[in-house]
């Protein structure tokens, strides 16, 4: 058949489909073949829906080309925290193993209506709690640039899948950096929209005041297209407001007069030297495009991780109370009474990190501690929002490295929860302030991708994607990993 999907963008898929160079079925088959070749190594997918994808592709092919919508037949893969009607949704947790949602998340329903084809469900940290995808109850996803390293998290399956060309597009979710950090570590583009731009209906809730769904793609243009497909106000999510206007296609190529604030607190000692070097070259690139970079201090963001690790677990401890063995998911096989059924079901079903966060949140909200912890964290949040809005009086965008380090080794941080939490230093304050931010590939340090984070004011996605596009064109970073280190049990690509 011969279609090589390596490095293919969603945009290119659309061109091939509309020109009739491939059928939707051929395109889906090519991706299924790619998955069967590389996923034994990358392990991005929890579930590949071969039958469903081929049936959806056949339905697209049965329509005359001029009767199709522009994105019909383009494949996408989905983080397994988004409810897909009739297709198992587990949040990579034993407690939801076997759960078949009776409804679609709003973002899924929108993509279905647009004619996109769902290849399958992607691995993640259990309930999106983690920064390495090692907290999945089911499998360990590898970084396609170095299979001994983590892909980041919690949307590690989504980032690894796109980097390894196992789908042109993926959806992820971002509560404290869970789209941007894995995008950075896997060398792809990841966008966290403004809080409220995209509906959370059917997204299994982690921390409701922070969670947003967003795209992971090979380039900025694809991220813009996918954002327009999923954004919008939804009567089923009263916190959703949509975008003021569609972002359209980013075409900007210069940054004349655009003011960028370099967040001083994120480029200090905590940031490794290789990352600082790549970041410095990105700052130069902005200058060469006519943009102006200047350091800015946001003192409160250094308290972001502390505030986040009170607010997010507090919300999670409440949200995850619903997993009690009554209506769905796992139920213990032995319980004498209702209380014991709850306790055994939850203790058997949740993994260690989820239990840890439920414990932190329950502690922070418990009688006598509420004011000292939770309320103090919410006041810190006010302070962070204030620092950002003051910075946006002087700057159009704020920039920093997305992650203070490149991808770390598997197992390197699992023994120390606090060290893992600090991986999200640069991304967490953005969620607390509800701002939109994008990570784009900026270069490499010792062969591993380094991402650049651009943050904009609320609902500035159109301008943010425009600036990111201009910079992406100038940086021209390679996004196709060589995938050269197969374990002995898997034949090299050339023999398959």
């Amino acid at each position: 058949m011969g279609l090589d999907v390596t490095g293919l963008t969603g945009w290119r898929c659309r061109e091939l489909l509309t020109a009739g160079e491939v059928s939707a079925t051929e395109l889906v088959q090519a991706y299924l073949e790619r998955i069967s070749v590389v996923d034994a190594r990358v392990q991005a997918y929890l579930l590949v829906d071969e039958e469903g994808a081929l049936a959806a592709a056949a339905a697209v092919d049965a329509k005359p080309r001029d009767a199709r919508g522009p994105w019909e037949g383009v494949p996408i893969a989905l983080k397994d925290i988004l409810c897909t009607k009739g297709l198992e949704t587990t949040c990579a947790s034993r407690i939801l193993k076997g759960y078949i949602p009776p409804y679609d998340a709003t973002v899924i329903a929108k993509l279905r209506r647009a004619g996109l084809i769902f290849l399958g469900k992607l691995n993640m940290d259990e309930f999106a709690m983690g920064s390495s995808t090692e907290n999945s109850a089911f499998q360990t996803t590898r970084n396609p640039w170095d299979l001994e390293r983590v892909p980041g998290g919690s949307s590690g399956g989504s980032a690894a899948c796109v980097a390894a060309s196992e789908a042109p597009w993926a959806l992820g979710t971002d509560t404290g950096g869970s789209i941007r950090q894995p995008a950075s570590l896997c060398g792809v583009v990841g966008l966290k929209p403004t809080y409220g731009a995209v509906s959370r209906y059917g997204l299994v809730a982690f921390a409701s005041s922070l969670d947003q769904v967003g795209p992971l793609t090979r380039d900025v243009r694809d991220a813009a297209v996918l954002l327009d497909l999923i954004a919008g106000r939804d009567p089923r999510d009263s916190t959703s407001v949509g975008l003021p206007e569609p972002v359209g296609l980013p075409e900007r190529s210069a940054l004349e007069g655009v003011r960028f604030g370099v967040i001083k607190e994120f480029i200090g000692e905590t940031c490794e030297a290789g990352v600082r070097d790549v970041f410095a070259s990105a700052v130069d690139a902005i200058g060469s495009l006519g943009g102006v970079c200047e350091e800015v201090s946001l003192p409160s963001v250094e308290r972001g991780v502390a505030a986040y690790y009170l607010i997010a677990p507090s919300e999670a401890s409440s949200n995850l109370a619903r997993f009690d063995g009554v209506r769905y998911g796992h139920r213990t096989s032995q319980a004498a009474d209702l209380y014991e059924m709850y306790v055994r079901t939850r203790s058997e079903g949740f993994g260690p990190e989820v239990k840890r966060r439920i414990m932190i949140g329950t502690y922070a909200l418990s009688a006598g501690y509420y004011d000292a912890y939770y309320a103090q964290a919410q006041r810190t949040r006010t302070l962070i929002i204030r620092d950002f809005s003051q910075a946006f009086e002087r700057f159009d965008f704020l920039i920093s490295p997305t992650s203070p380090t490149v991808a770390f080794r598997l197992g390197e941080r699992t023994a120390d929860p606090l060290a893992m939490y600090l991986s999200d230093l640069c991304t967490i304050p953005v969620n607390l302030a509800g701002l939109p931010a994008i990570s784009i590939p900026a270069g490499f340090s010792a062969g591993l991708p380094v991402g650049l984070q651009l943050v904009g004011p609320h609902f500035s996605e159109k301008e943010l994607l425009g600036a990111a596009h201009a910079l992406e064109q100038r940086l021209a970073v390679e996004t196709v990993p060589p995938l050269t280190v197969p374990p002995l049990t898997v034949p090299p690509l050339s023999e398959v």
């Binding site: 319980a335 840890r356 509800g434």
Partner: protein, 93 residues
Amino acid sequence: MISRQEVEHVARLARLHFEEEELLRLQSELGRIIGYVEQLAELDLSGLETTSHAVALKNVMRPDEPEPGLSQAEATANGPAIERGQFVVPRIG
């Protein structure tokens, strides 16, 4: 620091059970994490409002019109124990 009694109390509130070894590890991990977040206590934040949502919204309304929802069969399809369309649970202890 967080005491063993506190960990046990919070576990009861959260409907979780930990074996002895897990309990000891958790006590030390929670102690470190709480120790880290306690840096917020040093800040003078008196006079600052609390923020629960970054994008302020008030009184979001929609027309109160009934729409078809899930059928009883769909709503109970994932239940671990169902009898005559209802969720079955063990007796209250």
